[in-house]
Symmetry: C2
Subunit: 230 residues, 2 copies
DNA sequence: CGTAGTGTTGAATAAGGTCAAGCATTGTGG
DNA sequence: CCACAATGCTTGACCTTATTCAACACTACG
């Protein structure tokens, strides 16, 4: 994990989601307080401890954000990809950050002090509104996650996940998973074993067929949707 | 459940958390679009369906906000008491509201159209910042909830709940539960039976003693804290 | 003193998790 | 281009945990 003073990152930040709303001087001030972090696959970028003082932006690569329990259990919160920003929740409140950060591949990450974010919010109502929307979206996602993890059983969770990948009206479709099955299992808060078992039961019942490691044919989406709802 | 046009509520709203930041005309405009809802114990105030278009403020009484699964399982999200505001997450994004609302006692609830909130945010940077903070806090709480429900077992959850009720440094203390045991169990995502079993195990081990229905003596808080962490 | 609402306890059950072994896929180095 | 290693995936047997259902006990309140 390396840190650099990021001179040439102004253009890249300008192209990223809420920062495109900022004026040149505000953006420049924000960059001046930032740090650029490089890390390679598997590296832990930040532990869950201490007051959060900054916000992160992924420039390239993927970063996994998760809760780590004392028994080693990982609960995935988010997989942040290029252009994603995260960590406002804790930083804006000055609360201890609960999440751990791990690089899923070689990544470049920009770290912005929360004070700069706060200043930008004061300077630009549009930026402030954008941050507000992002937080609202985060809260919604978390409520959905809670619903998923707490109220649905393994069958329902997998069925719901699969139906989300298909177009809304189709009955049959072929898809390609965008992550390891382990990772997907983690998203659904299942062990890889349980995930595998549910998939093979669906296959046995004729709902799906597997094609290689990541390919999947959904044959009876209406039944799958029903399985998700029950 | 009754609805009224709320003429005399300007003063009461002025005294409530983020609304004290607003100027008289903005506040007046906000009130003008609002509705006052009265409901009595047990009544369902709003189902989870359709796009959320407004935000709620509890004037008096208590309201339970929860996720309802198709199998009837309830996952408690929040108990909102007088002065609490909620529902921004969904309303600001115009997403379907996932939560159900139930009166825990006789309540008066003020319903504000999200457009008024948006206008107030545009008019007052301080109000906007306050809303942002509230959303950040909501997100943090939800992450904590997720951690609680997904990564901790029943013993840890109960131990954590109990230790939160005690002062940080004490070893011994008496407390009074502020809700039914059923409700507390729901907050911890446990059945009342499991909650009861954990409590009686703690009692058997000498960690706590029960006093009547709501009283509780915590005798060995250090052991309790250890049980919460493991 | 009786009743409704809460809380407790036990036995049976179900749902996932854990551990361990083996199989398949992918991609790399020869 | 093939072989093989590394990684990821599957499967089975077993175990732990919490839920369910049912009966009963307690408490608070009228």
């Amino acid at each position: 994990m390396q840190c650099e003073i990021p001179t040439p990152t102004i253009p890249s930040l300008r192209g990223i989601a809420p920062f495109d709303l900022l004026d040149e001087p505000v953006l420049r001030h924000m960059i001046s307080g930032s740090r650029l972090i490089r890390a390679s696959r598997g590296e832990i970028l930040a532990q869950a401890h201490g007051i959060a003082t900054d916000v992160h932006v992924v420039l390239d690569g993927e970063v996994k954000r998760y809760l780590l329990s004392s028994s080693g259990n990982e609960k995935l919160i988010q997989i942040a990809t290029a252009g994603d920003m995260f960590g406002e929740e804790f930083a804006l409140l000055g609360r201890p950050c609960m999440t751990t950060l791990q690089a899923l591949c070689n990544v470049r990450l920009l770290t912005l002090p929360v004070e700069a974010i706060r200043a930008a919010m004061a300077a630009s109502p549009a930026f402030c509104a954008a941050i507000t929307c992002r937080l609202a979206a985060t809260a919604c996602e978390l409520i959905a996650q809670l619903q998923l993890c707490v109220q649905l059983n393994s069958t329902q969770r997998v069925a719901q996940y699969l139906t989300q990948l298909a177009p809304d009206d189709a009955e049959h479709c072929e898809i390609r998973l965008d992550n390891d099955k382990q990772t997907i299992a983690a998203q659904l808060n299942l062990t890889p074993e349980t995930f595998s078992r549910v998939l093979s039961r669906f296959a046995r019942e004729g709902l799906i067929r597997t094609q290689g490691r990541r390919g999947l044919v959904l044959d009876q989406l209406s039944r799958l949707r029903r399985a998700a709802a029950n």
